[in-house]
Symmetry: D2
Subunit: 151 residues, 4 copies
């Protein structure tokens, strides 16, 4: 189905395991819903604890789950024993993140030995309808000697 071949067949265990070690994700209530070779979906229900001053999701939080979705999309293609770091990202907040649920879908544009380029699209669900509220473009680095998941 996917255009990418994972280097590590165990990625379906390794990616959620790394996600589970990000303290911020459980603190805000984000969940990894799906991971495949080169893609990943993260969801976050609304609450006042993730809001900005007008009652929408805070742009930084939209960026946080978009960065994670795109980053774990990239991490899914990295070899056993590798770690992943975000080098940089850019996000356009194209509409207010207004709704009950945020859905971030990350996908790899181009994997590489050292650098990987990924994207994410974030949608807000409100009263059953979905609307794109942000798009992100990101550079990741594969790091060795500091694995995301041990054992």
């Amino acid at each position: 189905m996917s255009e990418f071949q994972p280097a590590d067949p165990d990625f379906e265990r390794r990616v959620p395991s790394s996600f589970a070690r990000q303290g911020i994700m459980s603190h805000i209530g984000a969940e990894m819903i799906e991971v495949g070779p080169g893609h990943c979906e993260i969801r976050l229900p609304y609450g006042e604890h993730v809001s900005q001053q007008h009652g929408f999701f805070h742009g930084g939080i939209v960026a946080t789950i978009a960065d994670s979705a795109a980053g774990y999309a990239g991490f899914s293609l990295m070899p056993t024993g590798a770690g992943v770091l975000t080098v940089e990202f850019k996000i356009n907040l194209v509409a207010p993140a207004d709704g009950e649920l945020l859905i971030a879908r990350g996908s790899v544009v181009r994997p590489g030995r050292t650098l990987t380029v990924s994207r994410a699209e974030v949608s807000a669900m409100k009263n059953g309808s979905s609307r794109v509220c942000a798009i992100l473009q990101q550079t990741l680095m594969t790091i060795t000697g500091r694995p995301d998941v041990v054992g």
Copy 2:
């Protein structure tokens, strides 16, 4: 001292008041330390609740406080009754955000009637020494009819 003249002399009350309405900031423990015409400083002590998988501050959280520091730097120059929205930002995570405290300093590059361009620099304090861990470049929009602070 500053090169910018605030349009609203009451900005020193209005900016922290808007910040106080961002639920995410108190949820993660961020504090606005200072605001002046065209600049703003936000700090965030470390805790597992803002961590990524290697025990550093999560890149999305670094982005969250950098976005807020740069955004409130811009908001300080906006007129009474205005609201501020982040149009987009780009962040380079130039070093691991490793330390006890994050300090984000935002400053306006160019204010405008509709769009304002700001920057932020984020440093991590560890054992008393400071190190730049991220730089951000951002576009803000002044919105009317949806004030950040009422009354």
Copy 3:
């Protein structure tokens, strides 16, 4: 076919006419191949005059045609008498721009009254095969009182 409705039915004349007024495009040999509601394609044959130090297309030139393709995709949806300005863009150069021909395809992500968000993908054609070498994400502003095309 397209998901967007152009505000100006005359956009198919107006967009190439604005492009023709960009001196840089004829100077480097770029051509607008196609324009539709919310999308645009620009091509640039290789020559030493657009090269960088390793003999590939210069990254700034890749950015120049990507910026124009995405910008004219946005301009196609703007009303009669409007002008278009690029507010900002971000580009990832994901592979060397190595080949005989560059093809930049721009498309609108979200049109707006004041701001429009667009993307472009640039491919290099080499010996008959095509490879993505850059992706761009961009913010445009609709300006009034300074039309791109008069008459």
Copy 4:
């Protein structure tokens, strides 16, 4: 004077030599005015051949010289035999690039073995006064086995 120590004492010869091999620079009339450890200045006089539709410098050309100024600032700190590639950049066009001369000043924010982060600021000179028209933030990669300058 500078905070950075160049790895290659011969950088003052190597950097302009690489610049001279970028065909696009002579084609548009850009000149490298100065290079030091971690900084670089490039200038470009106005002409119709670098214009956009309103008679200003084209945003892509502003990006081209900003990318080169920031890139050569980074290259000045790289070791003998290295090559430099732009991984990505983001540019805010904060004012129309209106004037007789563009001046791009690049500077390194953080050099690294693999990745270097740089910035550039571009000003337009008009009737003797200077105005910032763009700011750029960039990631560079040091490459080995494909030197910018041979011999």
